[in-house]
């Protein structure tokens, strides 16, 4: 290659790298607020993937665009291009570079996953060496223990220490929360986008799950695994609050007598039965409304 070509290619690569870096930074704003310790780790990995991806996408489309603009055959030009069939050096380079990139991304992802330490089904302590816990307080402070039940189509949360049940998930900020996820009917997905965590709940199997909320506010929990007719309605609010507010809420809820919680699937189903709708097919009836101390 001519030195002039090398220099101009170098300049373009640097410009592309800078642009990709900024797209990577921009990508943080595409995601919901960072409300858990895990979300910070995931977002950093995602941003890196976006930056590398932007570089590749713009590189490839740039070359194609350049060719379309400057390598067009003239209207009456029926000649052929140069019969170049291959180039061993180039082919080795473009096999090795993607391979190394893949190794790097897999390693980075592995590190991130270890640091998240979110637990998983079949989790065995020591099966993978736990990496040093992050600089948060999760290792030292006590855990909040919550039993989560997802059923067609409602979420209920039980706090065993105070024997409180709720249809709204309350969590103290900066304290690692430990969940046992259960389902009595079909597979549900426990998913809170603001926390970047998700876990399928296999029916009749207890699944351990953990994460640390770090930002006060109200978030949305959704069912991520298709669970039947009223799947879309299977949502719940998640409230992250200070330790004191959380304790107040828990004590207050413990004093309430359990009542049936309102439920969107149940009310839609009841309406539908009354109307005797012409459209739509038979459905599995929703489970009875859960009896809870607290509902939103």
């Amino acid at each position: 290659m001519k030195p002039k070509t090398v220099i101009s290619l170098g300049i373009m690569a640097i410009a592309l790298a800078v642009l990709s870096y900024f797209v990577g930074q921009w990508s943080y704003s595409w995601l919901p607020p960072q409300a858990s310790a895990e979300s910070i780790l995931v977002d950093k990995l995602f941003s890196t993937l976006v930056a590398i991806g932007t570089f590749i996408l713009l590189g490839v489309t740039g070359v194609i665009t350049f060719s379309i603009l400057f390598h067009r055959a003239g209207r009456y030009d029926t000649s052929d291009g140069p019969p170049i069939e291959g180039n061993t050096t180039v082919e080795i380079v473009w096999t090795v570079i993607p391979f190394l990139t893949v190794i790097y991304l897999a390693y980075f992802s592995y590190q991130t996953y270890q640091a998240m330490n979110i637990q998983a089904p079949g989790h065995m302590h020591g099966a993978i060496d736990p990496v040093e816990k992050m600089a948060d307080t999760s290792a030292t402070t006590p855990m909040t223990n919550i039993e989560v039940e997802g059923k067609q189509w409602a979420w209920t949360f039980r706090y065993p220490e105070k024997n409180v049940t709720s249809t709204e998930l309350h969590l103290p900020v900066d304290q690692r929360a430990h969940f046992v996820l259960r389902s009595p009917d079909v597979i549900h997905g426990f998913y809170i986008p603001a926390f970047r965590v998700k876990q399928d709940i296999i029916p009749f199997e207890d699944t351990d799950f953990e994460f640390t909320p770090i930002r006060e506010g109200k978030y949305r929990l959704r069912d991520s695994m298709f669970s039947g007719t009223y799947f879309a309605a299977m949502q719940a609010d998640v409230v992250v609050e200070s330790q004191e507010e959380f304790q107040d809420w828990l004590n207050n809820a413990a004093r309430q007598t359990p009542t049936p919680a309102p439920n969107q699937a149940a009310s839609e189903y009841a309406r539908r039965q009354q109307k005797d709708e012409q459209f739509g097919w038979k459905t599995v009836p929703p489970a009875p409304a859960p009896m809870v101390n607290f509902h939103s």
Partner: protein, 551 residues
């Protein structure tokens, strides 16, 4: 053929007698070219049907409330959209291309087993109609998504035996049987019937990719079919393979399902890689760069495709070691696909480009595929996947692969080989209109799914929180444009076939055995079987491809 036999003389006197008329296409023909077109036309029928389902869904999703159709209807629509698009459209249309082109490209007179070929095709309308008829089943058609995960799929609220899910499972199993028949036939044809002189490294890239795809069918489909049959027994005959309340494992079904259904994506994309590899050299007027690496990387994709299925189950009941192992194997598959992408870019580079419709679709498909590959790496990364799987991010990624790359590739192939198949030229202006509408619709429909998925909108919902409304309105508008984009295409194809200009044997000045015979080719393709003497894609070189047929 030194001395003309009486049959050959008769054919010469009446060359048009062996050409099919319209009635032939409704008959049990054993001509691979007739079967190829039967597959392609049937597939386009199901493409339109499942596309209409998609537009009703996008109509539902244009507002957050579930107001256009009942939730059960919505669930049935997305289930049947996915199922019919895969089993009624993508697989059959690509089987059609393989059927039509492979014997011509390898210099054979027909497929190895012509009757098996016809039987495999005629199963397509049978199971396709079964899918559509299931809308009349008591309780409606299947409503558990095209994955059909238990226990949702074995809940049977209608209570009757002949329910939609039952019909769905029978149709899927039939589709599996049909595809296995096709795979046996195609692989045998490619291995045994290449003409004299066509060694493996003189075989066109399309033929290689078709063979690679069909090898996946042979090892993968038995797993899917077994899973479907076991699920059918759970649903209707009281077994409990997958019933967790009776000690069965729903996760086992997921393994059966994805062991085939992830590699199935390569079954669909590999022939499209083949189409790209045929189209770029013609319209760039350069040899396929790194031809040998391109064909070998297809076989590497086949090998890797057998060890990637668990990445669909990262958030399922999957232990951490499995998550890590399959993350690496899934990412690794980007290396052989990357090799192909770079090879195509290098083929285009420095060429003499002609932007005919098929070239436009190939270029658009390539760009979409690169984008889909990048989001694919994100989905392979376990921590990112934990956030985005089962959200619209996956729907966006998947549709960029299936529509952005595969459907674009199919369109590219249809335009490229239309003159060969029909003997008529298509209208270039309508073709270009079709391309730009498709590109606009694809981008507007599938790009917004990525941000809305990152925000946390789950897939398969009939209603959603108002915060997702903006991107959904854009996606719906894109979906309607995409629906409209098929109108100029259908007009063009039907109009040109009836009324188009007569096509010469080789309108694109392309190199390949199929371009050495008249358009459309006669009944047995080659009067005299070719003897290949050169590698394919000899653009810019003045060597003949065969020693006996010219070209």
């Amino acid at each position: 053929m030194t001395q003309a036999s009486p049959e050959a003389l008769r054919d010469r006197e009446y060359p048009l007698t062996s050409l099919p008329n319209w009635r032939t296409f409704f008959s049990f023909s054993t001509d691979h070219k007739v079967i190829g077109i039967q597959y392609i036309v049937t597939a386009f029928f199901f493409f339109v049907v499942a596309g209409i389902f998609a537009m009703i869904m996008r109509g539902e999703l244009i507002t957050p409330e579930p107001d256009l159709v009942d939730r059960t209807v919505y669930n049935a629509l997305f289930t049947m959209h996915g199922t019919i698009m895969l089993f009624g459209w993508t697989f059959p249309v690509l089987a059609g291309f393989a059927n039509y082109l492979v014997p011509l490209m390898i210099g054979a007179r027909d497929m190895a087993f012509p009757r098996l070929n016809a039987v495999a095709f005629w199963m397509v309308p049978v199971f396709g109609i079964l899918f559509i008829l299931s809308f009349l089943a008591p309780g409606g058609p299947a409503q558990s998504g095209w994955w059909s995960y238990p226990p949702v799929s074995v809940q049977n609220p209608s209570g009757v035996l002949l329910n939609g899910e039952f019909l769905w499972l029978v149709a899927v199993a039939l589709s599996g049987v049909s595809s296995i028949m096709g795979a046996v036939n195609i692989v045998t044809t490619i291995v045994r019937m290449r003409c004299e002189g066509m060694g493996w490294f003189k075989t066109p890239a399309f033929v290689w990719t078709v063979m690679a795809a069909q090898i996946i069918q042979l090892f993968g489909l038995p797993a899917l079919t077994a899973g479907a049959v076991m699920l059918l027994f759970d649903l209707s005959f009281g077994t409990t393979f997958f019933d967790p309340s009776q000690g069965g494992s729903p996760v086992l079904y997921q393994h059966f399902f994805w062991f085939y259904s992830h590699p199935a994506v390569y079954v669909m994309i590999l022939p499209v890689f083949g189409i790209f590899s045929e189209v770029f050299p013609v319209y760039a007027r350069k040899p396929l760069f790194g031809y040998k690496v391109v064909v070998i990387s297809s076989m590497i994709i086949v090998a890797l495709s057998a060890v990637v299925w668990v990445h669909h189950m990262f958030a399922s009941g999957t232990p951490p070691w499995m998550r890590m192992l399959f993350m690496f194997s899934t990412m690794l598959i980007s290396v052989p696909t990357g090799i192909k992408v770079f090879a195509w870019v290098a083929t285009i580079w420095g060429g003499k480009l002609r932007l005919d419709t098929s070239m436009l679709f190939a270029l658009g498909g390539l760009v979409n595929f690169v984008f889909a590959g990048i989001t694919g790496i994100m989905l392979a990364s376990v921590p990112v996947d934990i956030h985005v799987n089962n959200t619209y991010f996956v729907v966006g990624h998947f549709h960029y692969v299936i529509y952005g790359a595969i459907v674009f590739g199919i369109y590219s192939g249809v335009y490229h080989w239309f003159p060969k198949m029909t003997g008529k030229m298509y209208y270039e202006g309508l073709g270009k209109l079709h391309f730009w509408l498709t590109m606009l619709g694809t981008t507007l429909n599938f790009l917004p799914m990525h941000p809305v998925g990152l925000m946390g909108m789950p897939r398969r919902v009939a209603s959603y929180d108002p915060e997702f409304a903006f991107w959904n309105v854009l996606a719906s508008i894109g979906g309607f444009i995409l629906g409209m984009s098929t109108i100029p295409f259908l007009l063009n194809m039907i109009g040109s076939w009836i009324n188009g200009e007569q096509a010469p044997a080789n309108p694109w000045r392309a190199i390949g055995l199929e371009w050495l015979v008249p358009s459309p080719p006669e009944h047995e393709n080659f009067e005299e079987l070719p003897v290949v003497v050169a590698e394919p894609y000899g653009y810019g070189k003045s060597e003949p491809l065969t020693e006996n047929l010219g070209g």
